[in-house]
């Protein structure tokens, strides 16, 4: 039994040692999952591009609703959250647990600001007459940005979970990889937003 205990402890403390690639299973799984997510957003973005112009001349379209400055600001906020996420990862790697909590909370707050901006934007569009069922542009726009918003929301929930774990003393430097993995997800979601923002808002309509 002692031998076994030693072995499992060794596995717990030296997780990377036992994988063939040297990357931990969890981190590799996240990379693989993000690969799949690329195709999901690829499909949604293609659907949007395919459909955005398929509206009648008098239909409400992108030019009627988009508020580029507003969305640029919220995009910037989301982009900044990637930076704070980097700080969160580096702080826990250094063993700075308090700093880690601060950066996790900041990242979550920035993400929440972005989602709040999206909610505001949706409400504004809806009041201007663009509903999910109004036309093809509406359906495609809300589906794409809504899916992205859902991803950000899930990311916020994960960051908050980390925060709670850290408060309870369950998130020490030995778990820095957990933060790193969620950071991967967070960066991915941000990068996807850059693509969506460019294609949906900035491309000539």
């Amino acid at each position: 039994m002692t031998a076994e205990t030693t072995a499992t402890e060794a596995a717990a403390h030296d997780g990377e040692h036992h994988t063939s690639t040297g990357i931990s299973n969890e981190k590799l799984a996240m990379w693989v999952f993000l690969g799949s997510e690329c195709l999901l957003f690829g499909g949604l973005i293609s659907t949007y591009m395919f459909n955005k112009g398929r509206i009648g001349p008098n239909d409400i379209g992108p030019n009627d609703v988009f508020d580029i400055p507003f969305t640029s600001v919220s995009s910037f906020v989301l982009l900044m959250s990637s930076l704070t996420m980097v700080f969160a990862v580096s702080s826990i790697a250094r063993g700075d647990l308090r700093g880690n909590r601060i950066w996790l909370a900041t990242t979550a707050a920035l993400g929440a600001t972005f989602v709040a901006g999206q909610v505001y934007e949706f409400t504004a569009f809806y009041s201007e007459g663009l509903g999910f069922t109004t036309n093809l542009f509406g359906s495609a726009f809300y589906a794409l940005t809504g899916f992205h918003g859902a991803h950000v929301t899930i990311g916020i929930i994960m960051l908050m979970s980390l925060y709670v774990m850290s408060m309870r003393g369950n998130l020490g430097p030995e778990r820095s990889e957990t933060v790193e993995i969620i950071g991967l997800y967070w960066h991915f979601v941000d990068v996807v937003w850059i693509v969506i923002f460019t294609i949906v808002y900035l491309f000539p309509q």
Binding site: T8, S36, L40, R54, G56, T133, N135, S139
Partner: protein, 693 residues
């Protein structure tokens, strides 16, 4: 590497009977998390990749009988002109469910059965990377499958079954044209099975990339491992595409979105593109596992290594890549424009090259071999022969102009049945016979096996061979009946008779399972030995049935076909000589000190939550909300579950499986696939040096 002398002892009891109540030989004492390792509840909560594999196989076999019964209804209806066995409405439901069942609920999970059971064994691992996620994949698949099949009965016989064909083209799938709940079942059910496939693919990819035993480099992996790995990558990238399509369809039907609403300006070709970008890789998802199985069986029974291993792997990879560039050959008549047709016509033609390479390599493996025509070998050679027919007819409709005559006729039906039945299904059946002794400790009867093979093969050719003729004579697909003066009566009758011959062949297979099990039980359960076929892969290097911990100690691999090379060497005349028996080389499963992941309640609860959400989306959103509560609760329970049995000695209380690796499949209401600790599954956690010198 010297192997210490070891006495061969059959396990006292045997592991993993398909329906047997006894699970014995639990190496590590009691487990909490779910308690108990016996009885049916232990199957519900298992996280053992082997049991999950067996459950995949059993579920797929159940769905195979459902799909087969549907096929017989189709054939009865078409046996004579103006058939009136079932009405047109029921017929549409029957053929749709036949296709959906066979593709998503039979071939894919059967391949998943082999992937789950064999992948960790073939790479010398203890288990998959995420055992609980693996269990969740199965329950999620089962939830989706049961939801789909329940549509046959809910609200009347085939009243609410999907009726738009497996390809479910828009706008016929829209509410005005398909007002029953059928398409909702299709959209929701396939999303659920999609989540299962996606989670499973991530899990298995990580397993193969990360959990190979010492020395198991990529080019020492068996071809089956390679083909399954490629399949998982295809799933990884194809599933999200169909998920998008299904979401759009669901939004249209449930919440009045406009994605396929032609009046709002939608182009129905969007569905076709999304569906076939998924759908064509899907074809290779169906066939590549069978290719892998054949590549294991033929060398074993030719007593030769696989001819051109590297080319076999490379052609599999080539198929995996090229499979993404041919989807629009399903749309040659859809009006995609001559340039697109030309491009896809050419790309489709060249995908025949890597497939042809595989066929020729199998033949070259047999060349100058010592061929033993056991049942698995019969099936494998059957695949080589039958798949070739499907491949050749495939080339004839890569010729786009001729495809305008052939597409949507019975010629296509013949083509893909030669590929999917003659290729995938025969290969999977061969795999059943080949690995049955490994999984259950006894062989299926060779006599019944061979008889059922020939009956199935003959029935298969009588059913689908004539469909080539029917198609070229102009019989369309998916028609509920045909006029007497169209001249289709003769071959349809032949096909119908053939389909019942297949049914007899399948019944013989089931009878074989039954009698072989009985015989083995009556004979006092003799041990078949670790290596009943004189095979080559690592999975044969442990006891049969495989003990729960797979291998007693880590295996160090030095070359391809490591196990075979430990049994055989060459003498000074370069002749092969036996250097050790399989029993000497293989592990006997006696190591009881291996630390294994504990069973878990949460995978099946999570699957149940998803099932409720599924029905809720179709019938009542309150039900979906209830399912969502269950689902979130299950995720919570999953995260907070102790990584280990508190009663077991040496557990570490800081399980590092909370919060990390949130593999939420596409944010589509699926579970937060919390990566769980795989430390328990890592190969090194045995008592070091316990048995191997």
């Amino acid at each position: 590497m010297t192997i210490t002398e070891r006495t061969i002892t059959a396990p006292e009891e045997t592991l993993a009977l398909p329906a047997g109540p006894t699970i014995a030989h639990r190496p590590l004492g009691a487990f909490t998390r779910p308690q108990g390792s016996e009885g049916w509840t232990s199957w519900l909560f298992t996280v053992d990749h082997k049991r999950i594999g067996i459950m995949y196989g059993a579920a797929a076999m159940f769905f195979f009988l459902v799909g087969g019964a549907e096929a017989l209804f189709i054939r009865l209806q078409l046996a004579t002109p103006n058939g009136s066995v079932i009405g047109a409405g029921t017929y549409n439901g029957v053929f749709t469910m036949h296709g959906v069942t066979m593709v998503f609920l039979v071939i894919m999970p059967m391949a998943a059965a082999f992937a789950n059971y064999l992948l960790p064994l073939q790479i010398g691992a203890r288990d998959v990377a995420f055992p609980r996620l693996n269990a969740f994949s199965f329950w999620c698949f089962l939830a989706g499958g049961l939801l789909l099949v329940s549509s046959i009965f809910i609200g009347g016989w085939f009243q609410n079954a999907p009726d738009g064909g497996w390809f479910n083209y828009a706008p016929n799938s829209g509410l005005p044209f398909s007002p029953s709940k059928g398409i909702d079942f299709y959209a929701v059910g396939l999303q659920i099975t999609g989540v299962a496939s996606l989670v499973s693919s991530i899990n298995l990819i990580v397993t193969v990339l990360n959990m190979r035993t010492k020395g198991m480099s990529f080019f020492r992996m068996p071809v089956l491992t390679w083909m399954l790995l490629i399949t998982q990558f295809l799933l990884l990238f194809a599933i999200p595409v169909i998920t998008v399509a299904l979401f759009l369809l669901m939004f249209d039907r449930l919440w009045d979105a406009n994605f396929f609403n032609v009046a709002a300006g939608a182009d129905p070709l969007l569905w076709q593109h999304l569906f076939w970008i998924f759908g064509h890789p899907e074809v290779y998802i169906l066939i590549l596992p069978a290719f892998g199985i054949v590549s294991e069986i033929i060398p074993t029974f030719s007593r030769k290594p696989l001819f051109g291993y590297h080319f076999m792997v490379a052609s599999g990879i080539a198929i995996g890549f090229m499979g993404w560039g041919v989807w629009a050959h399903h749309m040659f008549t859809s009006g995609i424009g001559p340039l697109a047709v030309a491009a896809f016509s050419v790309s489709t033609m060249f995908i025949a090259v890597p497939t042809g390479v595989k066929i020729l390599n199998w033949l070259a493996t047999m060349y100058r071999g010592r061929l033993r025509f056991t049942t698995p070998m019969l099936y494998a050679v059957g695949v080589v022969s039958m798949f070739t027919i499907g491949g050749l007819s495939g080339v004839t409709h890569a010729i786009a102009p001729s495809d305008t005559q052939q597409t949507d006729t019975y010629y296509i039906v013949a083509h893909f049945h030669y590929v999917i039945f003659g290729g995938a299904l025969l290969g999977l059946f061969g795999g059943f016979y080949f690995w049955w002794p490994k999984a259950f400790g006894y062989k299926l009867s060779e006599g019944w096996g061979k008889a059922s093979f020939w009956v199935m093969l003959i029935g298969f050719n009588f059913t689908f061979g004539p469909m080539h003729i029917l198609g070229l004579q102009g019989m369309s697909r998916r028609i509920a009946t045909y006029r007497a003066d169209e001249g289709f009566a003769l071959w349809n009758m032949v096909a119908t008779i053939g389909s019942f011959v297949i049914a007899v062949g399948v019944a013989m297979f089931l009878w074989n399972v039954y009698t072989s099990t009985r015989k083995w039980q009556r004979a006092g359960r003799p041990d078949v030995g670790p290596d009943p076929w004189d095979a080559r892969g690592l999975e044969w290097m442990t006891a049969s049935p495989v003990p729960e911990h797979n291998f007693d100690s880590e295996i160090e691999v030095e070359r391809l076909d490591e196990f075979w090379h430990r049994k055989y060497g060459v003498d000074e005349n370069h002749r092969v000589v036996k250097t050790a028996t399989a029993e000497e080389v293989a592990h006997d499963g006696s190591n009881t000190k291996v630390h294994l992941p504990s069973p878990s309640y949460w995978p099946i609860v999570l699957g149940g939550g998803i099932l409720l959400v599924g029905y809720g989306l179709i019938y009542n959103l309150w039900l979906a909300a209830a399912g969502l509560v269950l689902l979130v609760g299950a995720i919570y329970g999953w995260i907070l579950e102790p990584a280990d049995d508190p009663d077991a000695a040496g557990h570490h209380d800081d399980h590092h499986d909370d919060g990390d690796g949130h593999g939420d499949p596409a944010g589509n209401g699926g579970p937060d696939g919390n990566g769980e600790s795989a430390s328990a599954a890592a190969p090194a956690d045995t008592e070091e040096g316990a048995t191997v010198g």
